[in-house]
């Protein structure tokens, strides 16, 4: 009953304060950005500009080759406008390319210069050999440049035959994949839930310290752990609200919502217990800022590995946000991987309980601090 009263009081205080709305406001902003600005999948189509410097009967052979891969089987006449200059072109669209066939060498050079894209001129010499001129941007790797150099040494047929002789077998093919937009959600959940919880609970403690109310609570028969747990409760409520506000409109029915709830509760409990412990060492938010900022930076590191899988050192796996990201990803995929999520959740719950117990002991001893 005392715990419930404390929790209701904390909810009232939070709802009349600033921090409560930060998470919800952030969630609304993230939702709006994701729905309105972030595409479901990022566009991987390359844009290329080509000019065929050769008689039309010869160039027609090249164009027919391109047309075979065109998604709608026909070229579209377009005007490409760059810096208020219009250039006539024929657009060929394949699954991974947008090829603009321009009408002059000058136009190709202009597009390479202004659009910062790779452009090419395919030219038929006097002795009827085909020459390829590439206009690069300077940032291309040596490997790419070397590839261009050898690309036309062998015939296309030889290269294609060599590629077809490669034995490529998928190790698994019965798995779900998140779209590019959905793939960003684990990061959002970790940031908006766990990391914000760490900062906001510390802010709540410092507000109470400033008002001195923690001392008034200390001379009542209610134990300090109830005071601390009621604050954790507010963090859990805001984390669940703000997370579901983002997840439901974007992910729909795909995630395991029960597992998501479990993982949100345990990770938010862990991070708020950590926030309580950090705050117990400082008198005000200014003093604690460096420590909180340091912890948040450390927690952000696994996000980098999440988006750049080639950088994934072993020590990152020791940072709590690493398993958080993996857990949220698994839940959002809707894999029904109960064992994995339960294992992670139990870990966060256990560590959270330990941190909370240490915090409780520290607050009992440092009420006047």
């Amino acid at each position: 009953m005392k715990l419930f009263s404390s929790f209701i009081k904390e909810l009232k205080l939070a709802s009349r304060g600033f921090y409560f709305y930060i998470e919800l406001f952030m969630a609304v902003i993230i939702l709006a950005v994701f729905l309105l600005l972030v595409p479901d999948n990022f566009n991987n189509q390359r844009t290329e500009y080509i000019y065929f410097d050769m008689p039309s009967q010869t160039s027609e052979l090249f164009l027919q080759e391109i047309l075979r891969e065109d998604t709608d089987g026909k070229a579209t006449p377009v005007k490409v406008e760059v810096d208020k200059q219009e250039k006539d072109a024929m657009l060929y669209t394949t699954t991974d390319q947008k090829i603009y066939v321009l009408t002059s060498r000058e136009d190709v050079i202009y597009m390479a210069d202004k659009e910062k894209k790779i452009a090419a001129v395919v030219k038929l010499d006097g002795d009827n050999t085909i020459n390829y001129e590439y206009y690069l941007q300077g940032y291309e790797s040596e490997k790419f440049k070397n590839l261009l150099k050898i690309l036309h040494v062998e015939s296309n047929e030889t290269i294609e035959a060599a590629m077809n002789n490669q034995d490529v077998r998928p190790l698994a093919n019965n798995f779900n994949v998140l779209s590019d937009r959905e793939n960003m959600m684990p990061s959002v959940l970790v940031f908006n839930g766990a990391l914000m919880g760490l900062f906001i609970i510390a802010a709540y403690i410092f507000l109470d310290r400033k008002e001195g109310v923690i001392m008034a609570y200390a001379v009542t028969p209610s134990p300090v752990w109830q005071y601390l747990l009621s604050k954790v409760g507010v963090i859990l409520v805001t984390t669940i609200l703000s997370s579901f506000l983002v997840v439901i409109p974007i992910m729909g029915t795909q995630p395991d919502y029960l597992l998501l709830l479990l993982l949100l509760v345990t990770t938010a409990f862990f991070s708020s217990a950590l926030g309580l412990l950090i705050a117990s060492f400082y008198k005000n938010v200014t003093q604690a800022f460096g420590a909180i900022y340091g912890f948040m930076l450390l927690m952000v590191l696994p996000n980098i590995a999440y988006f750049i899988p080639s950088w994934n050192p072993d020590y990152l796996k020791l940072i709590p946000t690493y398993p958080m990201l993996e857990g949220f990803k698994s839940v959002l995929l809707g894999n029904n991987d109960w064992l994995y999520v339960l294992t992670i959740s139990s870990g966060f719950l256990l560590v959270g309980v330990i941190l909370f117990s240490i915090s409780n002991r520290r607050y009992k001893k440092t009420l006047l601090g």
């Binding site: 001195g212 001379v219 009542t220």
Partner: protein, 284 residues
């Protein structure tokens, strides 16, 4: 009752004690005052008695509870009013008191009754953050009575308050004491101590220099004087004479017999004067 034996406390645990070998007892129903200048150790001792600071060394029993054995139950018998107001500024006056009522295991006073008692009737639904300093202090004071405490700890209960509010607070303390509440207060205001306390302890640099009732202290340390204003040859003369010294007594008798007396007052030494005399230190 409160029993304190050989109490020591050092904030940094470095051998520099803010409270040194403090011993005293407070009987049930007594008003006991810790009188001393700022930094003397009054609040440190008070915070140990209320459990806000851990007991490092010594023996302390409050209301039958030994402070070496931690028990939150004892707070049902204790009320504590802080020197600095500490209420939730985002909650209304009533919400503040209603919340604290639910934290006790004993019957509590109605929030409305408490607010009326401290002159905050009609302010139930005003947020404490909108209160003046005096109103916040009254709310903090009201909260300390919420559980009908048997032991009431008051840290500088009237410091910084305007005289009329201070007078109200003093009246409430007197009233509660009449009901049998034991009061332990700290103050550096000798008038408050003189008016309210059955006994006072003078504390300087963490050490108790003396414990006695204000009346005994005045009898023991105060000079017995009379201040007289009389007319002589058309002029008002003012003089102070001892009621103990024979020559002063004769002089006083002569003035009464031969002159027109304008005013005549007996003059007692104040607690502050006695404090300075005993400790060699001022109260500020």
């Amino acid at each position: 009752m409160i029993s304190v034996k050989n109490l020591y406390h050092s904030y940094n645990k470095d051998g520099k004690y803010q409270v040194k070998d403090v011993s005293f007892e407070v009987a049930n129903g007594e008003v006991f005052g810790f009188l001393g200048p700022s930094g003397a150790g009054k609040s440190t001792a008070l915070n140990i008695l209320t459990g806000l600071l851990p007991l490092q060394q010594g023996e302390v029993v409050v209301g039958g509870y030994d402070l070496k054995k931690v028990s939150n139950e004892r707070f049902n018998k204790i009320g504590m009013s802080f020197e600095q107001s500490n209420v939730y500024s985002k909650l209304t006056a009533k919400e503040n008191l209603d919340f604290y009522r639910k934290l006790f295991d004993v019957p509590t006073l109605d929030s409305h009754t408490l607010l009326k008692l401290v002159g905050l009737e009609g302010k139930e639904h005003v947020k404490a953050g909108e209160f003046s300093k005096g109103m916040k202090h009254r709310l903090t004071f009201a909260r300390s009575m919420i559980n009908n405490p048997e032991m009431w700890f008051l840290d500088e209960p009237t410091t910084g308050l305007d005289p009329s509010i201070a007078a109200d607070i003093k009246d409430i303390i007197k009233e509660k004491n009449k009901e049998g509440v034991t009061v332990f207060l700290t103050t550096h205001n000798m008038f408050i101590a003189d008016e309210l306390c059955d006994r006072v302890a003078f504390i300087v640099d963490g050490e108790i220099k003396l414990i006695d009732s204000p009346k005994n202290l005045k009898l023991q340390y105060g000079d017995k004087l009379v201040e007289v204003e009389y007319i002589e040859k058309g002029e008002v003369i003012k003089t102070t004479l001892s009621t103990v010294l024979p020559e002063d007594k004769r002089e006083l008798q002569k003035i009464i017999e031969h002159h027109d007396i304008q005013t005549m007052h007996t003059k007692e030494a104040t607690l502050e004067e006695i404090f300075i005399k005993v400790t060699g230190r001022g109260l500020v």
